[in-house]
């Protein structure tokens, strides 16, 4: 287990969430198309 400070842990989680959000946003592109396919 690492010796990270609470601030460092927070910074890590924050950056990971931003990167995860970018990945999710990119994955939403086909989902957006899916919505159009369903609603016509």
């Amino acid at each position: 287990m690492s010796e990270m400070t609470p601030e460092q842990k927070k910074a890590n989680v924050r950056l990971a969430l931003v990167l995860g959000a970018i990945a999710l946003l990119i994955a939403c592109w086909p989902v957006y198309m899916l919505r159009h396919a369903v609603t016509g």
Partner: protein
């Protein structure tokens, strides 16, 4: 920090299965990634042996056409997602925290999850092959790793397992990439500035960013495929107003940058190995990092060179052709950087360096055939022939796999605390390199003579090419038993490795991995080191 918590941080590794199942230690997780990749290497290799045994003679010998194509799909998916990516992630786990002076990865629990998703994905991949052989399983997954519709919409339930496997693999890769990027951005020791980072760390930084950008697109694409298969949509069905070429764009938007995901970590390994055994700092480090940026950016915008024959407009194909040819600039720059690092260096040729030199030679060869394939009118002739098979095996076996072998031999003394058997290492190098060339060099000729890929049978005029290729493949496969033996032998014992087993290591790099004992303690850099 409380005393209890402080003591908990300094106990030794947990014992038994819990050490591995619940591990949050970057070294243990790195080891698990590497073992997983090694197991999958034999699985993917076994598929290839069946394919080459079948192709030894024309006609049908041991496989039927659907099973042949299923094993071919399995071989590619296993080698890409099960071998090269996990092995590179294993090396990243082991080396990046030690190189940058971090106590561990930024998100250790996420690291555990990223790894433990992999065995389930591997199980799904195996099931995708088995499902096609069961009664009621439908047609086996016979599409190749590109999973193009409409064939992929028509195949049996094995395809659902394959899609699910890709989803899990994608999640694992994205989480690993997020963890690695976060570690590099946030966990560098004081003084470890961006342009002091070892090249391997830079290579993984860009690989991680690429993965975050491309894996969701593949996940989205195969989800749409799943909807077409089971939920009545028609994204890729022309009869319902869809377009099968859309899938090709989605797949290759992922698939071409994926090539750089496979290559970049090995380029990073070269950036460590070549200076060490040339005993000279890396030539033009900063421009080399910039060229890796250039490669990453260009790699994202040239995907449709895999689709020249689908009927895109001349303007579009011309754009993709020019973009693709431009890639030879950063790649050429990298190779020259390594060659100039060697120039007038005090070179020695231990096994990692032998692999490095072979990579530069053979990957350049793949670069030349790559430029040939990038040219639209030429590609229209080469498309779907063995010339393409030869090209990408010359790119990926030296460019990715041999880079990882160089890394294994380079870092094995650090990981295990023992020197590997240099004589056996060199035998493995020559055996595997010669066998690789015997296997794939002739495929350029069978391809130029018109032999189509992904087909179980072939015309009698290709017999000699295929016999040579199969003999080479069997020798190539067999050489990996020696590789396995070298690793087992090194893990079990051998000459004690010094903390810095290579006298040229750390020449011109601030990397901290060699300042630790061999093997490193379970917890390293609990107090951040300061780099001057």
């Amino acid at each position: 920090m409380s005393t209890v918590a402080h003591e908990a941080h300094h106990h030794g590794p947990p014992t038994g299965w819990k050490r591995w199942v619940f591990s949050t230690n970057h070294k243990d997780i790195g080891t698990m990634y590497l073992i997983f990749a090694l197991v999958m290497l034999f699985l993917g290799g076994a598929s290839a042996m069946f394919l080459r045994a079948e192709l030894f003679e024309p006609g049908l010998q041991i496989l039927d056409p659907d099973l042949y194509n299923n094993l071919l799909t399995n071989h590619a998916l296993v080698m890409v997602f099960g071998v090269v990516m996990p092995a590179a992630a294993g090396m990243a786990n082991w080396m990046i925290p030690m190189m940058i002076g971090a106590p561990d990865m930024a998100l250790p629990r996420l690291n555990n999850l990223s790894f433990w998703l992999l065995p389930f994905a591997a199980l799904m991949l195996v099931l995708s092959t088995i499902a096609g052989q069961l009664p009621g399983g439908g047609t086996p997954v016979n599409t190749g790793w590109t999973l193009y519709p409409p064939l992929s919409v028509q195949t049996g339930m094995g395809m659902d397992f394959a899609i699910f496997a890709i989803h899990i693999l994608g999640m694992s890769s994205i989480m690993a990439a997020i963890n690695i990027v976060t570690t590099i951005v946030n966990m560098r020791a004081p003084g470890m500035t961006w342009f002091k980072l070892p090249l391997f760390v830079w290579a993984w930084m860009l690989t991680g960013l690429l993965l975050i950008m491309i894996m969701p697109v593949l996940a989205g694409g195969v989800t749409m495929l799943l909807f077409d298969r089971h939920f009545g949509t028609a994204f890729f069905d022309a009869a319902g107003g869809g377009d099968p070429v859309l899938f090709q764009h989605l797949f290759w938007f992922f698939g071409h940058p994926e090539v750089y995901v496979l290559l970049l970590p090995s380029i990073g390994v070269l950036g460590m190995v070549v200076p060490t055994f040339s005993r000279k700092p890396l030539f033009a480090y900063k421009p080399l990092v910039y060229s890796m940026f250039f490669l990453t950016a260009l790699g994202m915008v040239v995907w449709a060179h895999h689709q020249y024959t689908v009927g895109m407009s001349q303007t579009v194909t011309t754009y993709f052709m020019i973009g693709t040819i431009l890639i030879s600039i950063p790649v050429g720059y990298m190779l020259f950087s390594f060659i100039f690092t060697m120039w007038r260096g005090s070179m020695t040729f231990e096994t990692p360096m032998l692999f490095a030199v072979a990579i530069i030679l053979m990957f350049s060869f793949a670069g030349v055939t790559g430029v040939m394939l990038a040219v639209v009118p030429a590609d229209l002739q080469y498309q779907d022939t063995y010339f393409v098979v030869a090209h990408f095996h010359y790119a990926l076996i030296p460019g990715a796999l041999f880079g990882l072998y160089a890394g294994v031999f380079y870092w094995l003394p650090k990981w295990t605390g023992h020197m590997y058997d240099e004589k056996l290492g060199k035998i493995f190098f020559w055996w595997t390199t010669i066998a690789f060339n015997v296997t794939f060099f002739v495929q350029h000729f069978s391809g130029l003579a018109g032999m189509p890929r992904r087909i179980i049978d072939y015309s009698p005029q290709f017999v000699e090419f295929n016999e040579i290729s199969s003999i080479g493949a069997f020798a190539f496969g067999l050489s990996h038993l020696l590789f396995l033996w070298i690793i087992i032998k090194t893990v079990r014992g051998g000459e004690k490795a010094a903390d810095k087993p290579w006298d040229g290591a750390q020449v011109g790099t601030a990397g901290l991995e060699w300042t630790l004992p061999s093997p490193p303690p379970f917890h390293s850099f609990t107090q951040p080191p300061v780099i001057k």
